[in-house]
Symmetry: D2
Subunit: 413 residues, 4 copies
């Protein structure tokens, strides 16, 4: 970590800052900064990232938006005690660190958006106009940057999944989107659009880890290109889909024709609660379902069920049944069960992604970070879904970055 | 298939010619030759093999060694009816084809070998000396080649697993092995060594699909190099290990530390019966177990159980439990169950491998066919265990072969 | 079987007579009648039924209603060949038997019912009025009885699941139902009500094996009591729910508190296709879900998913996850997977139930056959859901029946 | 709990008193005595035990034998922290209680036994003779009883499984056993025999929860009858076998013929470590395997694997595959996975059993407590293996005991 100077601080601004994923990320980074735990699962901290100027845990400053009440310490205790996903005593050790981060978490939200229309405005159900929301969010980011003299700023969307979203004319160009925002009449806005708009306006890198594609509509990408901001997404690949992206190539390479691929997901965290709404579930299912079709190159009967079972908490259990046909038409089956803690699986990815954003900002890159495809269910700017090929893309990018990083002329960067 | 001329016939000589794998292979090739079924699972017959002179189903002539009694038709009926692994009516349609192949199956075996020592010789328990066995086996092969005017000959070992084997001084050089054979005193011989010796002597390509490493000891490889024969092996990767080689990279790439990886295999075919003997099982378990260690680069607690449950027949069921540690030391689990017909999974691989051998013979290649690593649990000449990388090796080889195949000067080959 | 005289023939009239369950039942009974297979799974044919005058396979005469086109032989071939659920050669052996049964299958259906209202009548979309439908159905039954000089008649509902049904005032008394039928205006009729009405009017025993509770509304039960007909149902317990009813008592007896019990069912037969309609699924899920609550005596979070995956055909796969809490609040899990052929599991139960109906008719019993609770998901007339207690009820009934059957005075019956 | 007077204290003497099961039991009872947790899983504390004079948690006094070093607090911390099987903060709250119990735990063990023969005696490898061991163990028990003015004493064997044991002439009668003990020459002794001998001599009830049948050989039973002591065992039914005893009746009742039943068990606690020794495993496998055969009434192919995977700790995972045949010979499968904490599952049973022993002592019962069959894999004095019938036996016993308990004349007892 000798390459990361103290002078170069990276700000990490979390959307949904006291949610399970954000809390676990903050607990882990602070615990690593204090030398209490290794960065298990953060692969840029291993051989993969050697020789590259990634920010160390102690160089990361956290802040964010949150709409729910409660403190970060309470969130951490709930995960450590009730959820039994990490040692509850770790939380107590980090109590003062968590309190310090908590002071950087401000009330986010978009008050009445999404979506809002004439009636809401007439009834005064929205407290701010969309331009006012954006102005407020931008002010939050720039104050955070100033307050900590941050060299780089990364905004990470780990908010709950938004309801299914249909892209329209008003999302295709920056001009059209800005007109929609100004007009105050559109039902086409989503909270994530306003968050991403504010981030791109402030030149922050954007990590769309949530399963909300709205954040990266073409208009937002156009804005990011203009303001020189890199971005990546959508929908972190942490469990069942991760396994699919490793397993599906087996069936393609062996020409074992997949007839049906069914996945059942049960989970009990707030993500599960949100997904219990059929409209929200539809969005999530789509990105989970596309992986298999994309890798196989044909369309078997696929289905994905998601069920909210509160008792499971952050422990998501997925059961997949793969029914396939081999030589002489013989039909066979494979099943798998994945029992993992969503937040524990997501947190190291968040850290990897923040580090990759910091590297991209340092290298002056902008636009879609396609080399991060391995971390997402619906990678932005890439059609590659196969895990091994996605990692080959990442490793190739890092090799190139390393050549530059260690070449004499660039040593100053 | 226009590239495969009638003039160029490939002989396929199966060791264990009426076993389940051999029978399924023959049924499938004959059914495809008659246009009754597609070659599902034979990937060199798809895009992968385009533009290369592989033998078509109708250009393959079958023969082989068998020690058990019974006819090929009976074996096929047992699989089609009792085992329900393919349509029993297909067997009846192919009855005359199977009878014709049956006439090419001769009594194999090595009568008293392995292993035999002084006492067996004194007691007359062996009917032939090792040199006599080899002479007989070579005569079988050359007669088969002559009888059918075969252009190329491929010997495929699909016999039952041999007991665990320890390599010794006498297997390291061809000279040492030949002295051992001549001396008649060694306990160091295995049936598979004599089969492979005969094949290499006759310039036949050798596919060591069985889980018997003895067939490809250094002395045999030396002989193959001399006689210009290509070879590949060992232990076809058809089920549980195939899944391991696709899944284990996920854990490495995500830095999810595997603590334990346990596999339970239950099966009911003759392979299962053989593996019920602890000495035989030990050999098989070793090659199944090494995959995970090799891909991960460290040594978790691994274990593999194999149990013979006759009622399952050719349907092997494997249950794997993977216990792993993620961020903040949290422990999670994944399980999978694989329910496949061993013979149905193996047969298309055999066809692919015969085709690759025919291509190698046509190209004048000799020595280990490392590009076939994706088909084996313990690939000869390669340490690569990861499925995606193994297929990249195969595809690279085929791309190169294609360049040569379509270049004008080589068109004649 | 010496107790079943030739003179005493039992007619079995199947609603959905060429469906998978009916076809498998007919194939099995005919194969047993010809001595080709044992009655595996028919437990009244074993020790359980000893000494009681049950009809033998050869004493059962089949007929029924069907709305779909095609022949019974075609249905049987589809199951034997495509579905691989029984030996296709058995079907050919029984071809003439199946043709003979086929002649007893008449066009059933209720043409426009359910439900139908004023508009349908105005538009002429219903061809018959409800009283006309009933008259036709009754005529079918009485002709069947006469044609074969049947001693006893059992009507078995194995039709597809009907959409979710709400019981109303018009179903509570026979008078109210008959007014509704006569009025021609109600939307409260279901096909199953008309079938059951016809059966009860003809004094036939009624087995409501389908998941359609409408067939046994109070008005129908009243009619059955009057006409002296016994009945049983609802929704045959063949797979996942069967396992639940054996497993749930374990958790209750050990005071392992079930927090969540989730079941995922995937299937590909016509039942699955029907259940793909959310309205139909709702009805089925309710009866599957109640078992656990009833046995445990409290209400854990339960959920049941049903998905239609055509490639599975008649092979239903169910995955259940049970999340439970033990001593000191520790949470544990159990999972099970059930892979069974629905029709193969249902057919022997149909035979058992027909035999029990024949016994009840012989004994002059009427009303709900609560002793058959072990065969149903929602047993009529009983709240007992626990498998072992349900079988104790059955065995107690049979013991009593046996006492009567073997006592001298009753020997004539 | 009003029925349990303070005056009537029950001593609970644990063999293996700092093992995982004993520690969890003590933590649970002390936590319940202090009102921190309910007695979840202790079914005699619910409706089942109503109206009967069972000892309350605060009326139980713990002590025991242990051969390993370390303190009870350390054992409890290891389970609460590393094993994450209960809340680690509970352990700290109970620290002084655990220290107090720890003072009642004395060095057990039999020093050189089992087994020991002439050579050990010559070499002085045994420090005490068998009679000396017994005298010491009896002194430990009587001192414990005296020290705490215990009304009743229950000795509970929760020590590690002993190697497979063959019953001989010397175990059949008390006279023969006492001669063997006196002779000092037998290799026929096991530690558990000496423990049980001491317990029976002292009139203590004996709960043989460990998988060591030697403790209850006929000679020991004879001694218990003489001294008026009740006993029960063998091998607590906590997980996979528990499920088997609930599930197997389903297959029998439905006449689904089980062809194969395979169980794989992986576990990482000290029990697992002991069972990694093939000789020890053989004993355990036998009692696990018999359940299915006994319930079905025939002998399918059964097999049980046990593997030690340290990372799993106290969390045992069992996978069972059941291959069965139904109607028309169709073969189907069921699988289940059980993931439970062995100690958490065992502890409430220990408490139930101690309470049942206290009741039996109060009622002056002696000999085998067959009504406790539901708690054991190999119930002493009963062939009943089916869970529902075993619980019916228990409930019947308790009903009878209740009648006596509440009848006026017996109120004094």
């Amino acid at each position: 970590m000798t390459l990361s100077s103290q002078a170069s601080r990276t700000g990490v601004w979390l959307i949904g800052a006291r949610g399970a994923v954000a809390t676990t990320t903050i607990v882990g980074v602070r615990a690593a900064a204090r030398g209490l735990v290794p960065l298990r699962g953060v692969t840029t901290a291993g051989t993969r990232g050697q020789g590259l100027p990634f920010p160390a845990p102690e160089a990361m400053t956290f802040g964010g938006w949150e709409t729910r009440a409660g403190s970060l310490l309470e969130s951490a205790r709930a995960l450590g005690e009730g959820g039994r996903i990490f040692d509850p005593r770790l939380v107590e050790t980090l109590a003062s660190d968590l309190a310090m981060v908590d002071r950087e978490i401000v009330t986010g939200g978009t008050r009445g958006i999404p979506p809002f229309g004439e009636r809401e405005i007439e009834e005064g159900r929205h407290e701010e106009s969309a331009p006012e929301v954006i102005a407020r969010l931008r002010a939050d980011l720039s104050a955070f940057r100033r307050r900590h003299a941050l060299d780089k700023l990364v905004v990470v969307n780990v908010a709950s999944t938004e309801p299914a979203f249909t892209i329209g004319e008003e999302h295709l160009t920056l001009r059209a989107l800005e007109e929609t925002i100004a007009s105050q009449r559109g039902v086409a806005l989503r909270a994530s659009i306003l968050y991403a708009y504010a981030a791109a306006s402030e030149g922050a890198a954007f990590v769309n880890f949530a399963a909300s594609p709205a954040a990266l509509v073409p208009a937002i990408r156009e804005l990011a290109e203009r303001s020189g901001a890199p971005y990546m997404g959508t929908d972190g690949k942490t469990g069942e889909t991760l396994v699919k992206s490793a397993l599906a190539p087996l069936f393609r390479e062996r020409d074992l024709r997949v007839l049906s691929w069914h996945g059942s997901n049960v989970l009990g965290n707030s993500d599960g609660e949100t997904l219990d709404d059929p409209a929200v579930r539809a969005a999530k299912v789509e990105s989970k379902d596309a992986t298999v079709r994309s890798i196989l190159g044909y369309t078997p009967a696929t289905s994905v069920d998601i069920r909210y079972l509160p008792s499971l908490g952050d422990w998501k259990t997925a059961w997949d049944l793969i029914h396939f046909e081999g030589f002489l038409g013989t039909r066979m089956t494979m099943q798998f069960t994945w029992q993992g803690s969503d937040s524990i699986l997501a947190a190291p990815l968040i850290i990897d992604l923040v580090r990759l954003c910091a590297l991209a900002l340092a290298r002056g890159e902008r636009g879609p970070m396609t080399h991060a495809a391995c971390f997402f269910k619906a990678p932005v700017g890439s059609n590659e879904q196969e895990l091994s090929r996605q990692y080959a893309m990442l490793d190739q990018y890092l090799r190139r970055a390393r050549v530059v990083a260690v070449s004499p002329r660039k040593a100053a960067s």
